[in-house]
């Protein structure tokens, strides 16, 4: 293939997709190369900006100097989140919230988790502990046990609906059926739920659930919200699906499902990446490249017994110490030292200690992002993705 894209982005997750959309909007030709579906498909579908405090933009200022948020800057953080909201809204999946204030969602264990932007179907998850909530669960559904939630709230109750299928995806599919939804609503009405809110696991359809939520809400005259589930996570899938379709609409090209098996360089420039195929490999050429492959979970970083490698371009990786010190003893204390590991970049998102000039790095592969510790996963991915895209877009 002899076409050369303006920008080739490796990694089709939150930061890669947001970077691609930013560049496509700026009129650049973009290809996203991804070896599979990204980690955000497993997530709650919410955008965590920073877990600490009530005001994310303020809390970000007190992060250590080396945190990637500072590379983006408060203005870009704010504007990139707004951009994210408008992109998702155009795809039919509006997000509620903004960067000035944190909000909370309800977890399947009945905890209130801090986040910032939530899908429309979770807008009303931030309820007062004294308010009555009624949990709806589904017969046979494996990873959802309403007792966990109702035991945390004195003023609560639950009911179980038999959807005829018990898998998350199977139930979500049923909600696409008009008759099923009507049947569900009339069953709900028959329960005579007291004044308060209704919550259910996130299965209200394969596409964005806001409409279904609103309909149930209107018919029952109660606020309704979704609770994110263990994978398969519909909110995560909807989030990813929305971004992907937004990119396709903007003329971005996707090369999906194959791993990069070789990188061609010429001097200090990367020229192309080659994707291992069943038969011939596919060569993708670009003027500029972006590394958005994520951290250990997605395979952007790989740990051997005593070292960590960056798996596509073999960039130098910052490592906080020897293997014995990678993890704390306490499973529940977020902030294992290994989280600091990643690629160090300069102010223009280019990797330090590397001769390569046309490579930019964004997302959770950046060193010191410490996603679990600060609760900043998707927010940081969006901010650095957009910021890096702005910088590299000018280079093209």
């Amino acid at each position: 293939m002899s076409v050369t894209y303006d920008v080739v982005i490796t990694g089709g997750g939150m930061s890669g997709m947001m970077a691609a959309i930013t560049l496509a909007d700026a009129g650049r030709s973009v290809a996203v190369v991804s070896k599979g579906d990204p980690v955000c498909c497993l997530s709650t579908g919410c955008i965590d900006v920073i877990a600490d405090g009530n005001s994310p933009l303020e809390s970000i200022c007190s992060l250590p100097d080396n945190h990637p948020y500072h590379l983006a800057g408060i203005d870009v953080i704010n504007s990139s989140l707004e951009m994210f909201k408008s992109v998702m809204s155009a795809e039919g999946g509006a997000y509620a919230g903004d960067a000035r204030a944190n909000r909370r969602i309800l977890t399947p264990l009945g905890r209130h988790k801090t986040t910032c932007l939530v899908p429309g179907a979770m807008e009303f998850a931030d309820f007062h502990p004294d308010e009555y909530i009624h949990i709806i669960s589904f017969e046979g559904m494996k990873d959802f046990y309403p007792n966990y939630i109702t035991s945390n709230y004195k003023n609560s109750g639950f009911s179980i609906f038999d959807a005829g299928v018990s898998t998350t995806m199977g139930i979500a599919r049923r909600f696409e059926n008009r008759q099923f939804l009507e049947g569900f609503i009339s069953w709900l009405k028959g329960l005579d739920i007291p004044e308060g809110r209704i919550a259910m696991p996130a299965v209200l359809g394969m596409r964005f659930a806001e409409d279904v939520c609103n309909e149930i809400s209107a018919e029952l005259d109660r606020k309704v919200f979704e609770i994110p589930t263990l994978p398969p996570s519909l909110p995560g899938l909807r989030l990813f699906g929305g971004l992907k379709n937004a990119l396709l609409k903007r003329g971005g090209h996707l090369y999906w499902g194959k791993e990069i098996c070789s990188v061609e360089k010429s001097g200090s420039q990367i020229e192309a990446v080659t994707l291992a195929g069943a038969g011939r490999s596919t060569r993708v050429q670009g003027n500029v490249f972006m590394l958005a492959t994520g951290s250990f979970v997605s395979g952007g970083l790989h740990a051997s017994m005593d070292a960590v490698r960056e798996t596509v371009f073999d960039l130098p990786v910052y490592l906080p110490g020897k293997r014995e010190s990678w993890f704390n003893n306490d499973f529940f204390a977020p902030g294992h030292p290994i989280e600091k590991s990643g690629i160090c970049v300069d102010k223009s998102f280019r990797p330090v200690d590397s001769r390569i000039e046309n490579l930019f790095v964004c997302g959770s592969i950046l060193a010191f992002s410490e996603v679990m510790k600060y609760g900043c996963g998707h927010g940081m991915a969006i901010a650095t993705g957009v910021a890096a895209a702005n910088v590299c877009g000018e280079l093209v």
Binding site: M1, K35, V39, G170, G277
Partner: protein
């Protein structure tokens, strides 16, 4: 599980992770398989494309389907469809009779008894098949020469389209040869009959390799044939020349795109104002070559293309033609068709004949191969430089 279309609608299929790598830990070559439900997998390969860790659940499941098929009685419908090639040959031979009979109610009932589903109409057969058509077209001494692997669907059901593609390529200055060929082998493999699949594949690979050695590229139109040639020939079927065929096979649109990008052809594209719902076949995603037809569409002025890649149409080759899978295929077909209708298109496009049949039936929108749209708009100017 998030990506598997079958597990979503059929609770008897536990999904790719459980059916593949999880269950594999309990399987052993010395032991007889008893996991009958393994046949419910339609081999759409969506799990393979989605898995970021390089695990190929579809391949693990395929191996088990073959093992299961090898040791257990295969129902009539499976045997029939494993031999799609001979079915097509027969259908083509007595096409007028077959085409009158298959829509008839009593024939449908008979077919149902034998496990063949009639929820969507049987495709029409044509006597004037590809292998009864002129085998050579295009300039003798062209730099660009291809052997066209047209596949059973074009051969027996849409030979008119196959011939149009042949002629179209020739008009671009490409020497086109339609070699002797048999079924790519995918239907046999999908019905648990690896021996038949290997027989077909060996024959094809030998013939194609001969052409490759003389400088020809192999072109395929059907993306499932393409997957078979590139993935299975050197892979699970492991036939001689398998690797050679795999490395020299091109998707039709990929090839045309290459011609344009190398400036071998500089076509004038006429505006074609239509809204097209382009349904990406599951096997095209699995090929990992991107969506070349979409890139061709971009060059057509006025064409409003909506790419739909979130759904499997459900027919999955011969899978949906078996009554045991009828329910699954219909449910998936309805969902995929809904996505098509939501675009409110003038036409729908898809590289795969099965997808076209299924979606046209369930959505009512006329279905075309992308090359048909291309041919409508493309006017060739000069040939080779």
């Amino acid at each position: 599980m998030a990506n598997c279309p079958v597990s979503r609608v059929n609770p008897d299929f536990p999904g790719p992770k459980q059916a593949g790598p999880d269950a594999e830990r309990f399987r052993s070559d010395d032991e007889t398989s008893i996991d009958k439900w393994i046949r419910l997998c339609n081999q759409c390969k969506r799990c393979e494309v989605a898995c970021p860790y390089g695990v190929n659940p579809a391949q693990i499941i395929l191996k088990e389907q073959v093992r299961y098929g090898g040791k257990h009685f295969r129902p009539l419908a499976s045997r029939v469809f494993a031999n799609t090639y001979w079915l097509g040959a027969l259908g083509s031979l007595i096409a007028p009779v077959v085409n009158i009979l298959t829509p008839r109610a009593f024939v449908k009932r008979v077919l149902n008894v034998f496990g063949i589903s009639t929820s969507i109409p049987f495709p029409q057969y044509r006597f004037h098949s590809m292998n009864r058509s002129w085998r050579w077209k295009g300039p003798r001494k062209s730099r660009k020469k291809v052997v066209f692997f047209y596949g059973c669907f074009l051969n027996y059901n849409r030979p008119d389209l196959g011939r149009d593609i042949r002629d179209f390529l020739a008009s671009l200055g490409v020497r086109v040869i339609m070699p002797k060929q048999v079924c790519c082998g995918l239907p046999a493999l999908g019905n648990g009959d690896i021996d038949t699949a290997r027989k077909f594949a060996s024959k094809n690979a030998r013939i194609l390799a001969g052409y490759i050695d003389r400088g020809y590229d192999v072109l395929y139109s059907c993306t499932s044939c393409g997957l078979s040639l590139t993935q299975d020939y050197p892979g699970i079927l492991d036939v001689p020349y398998g690797r050679k065929v795999s490395e020299n096979s091109y998707n039709l649109h990929e090839y045309i795109l290459n011609l344009m990008e190398e400036h071998y052809i500089d076509p004038v594209l006429e505006p074609f104002h239509r809204r097209v719902a382009y349904h990406i076949p599951c096997h095209l995603r699995a090929l990992g070559i991107g969506y070349p037809a979409a890139r061709l569409f971009e060059k057509i002025p006025g064409l409003d293309v909506h790419i739909l890649e979130d759904n499997c149409c459900g027919l999955s080759g011969s899978y949906g033609f078996k009554t045991s899978n009828e329910d699954t295929a219909v449910k998936l077909g309805i969902t995929a068709a809904r996505a098509v209708k939501a675009v409110d298109p003038d036409m729908l496009a898809s590289d795969c004949g099965a997808c076209r049949m299924q979606l046209e039936y369930f959505s009512g929108v006329p279905a075309f191969d992308p090359s048909e749209i291309l041919m409508k708009s493309l006017k060739n100017s000069k040939a080779a430089k």
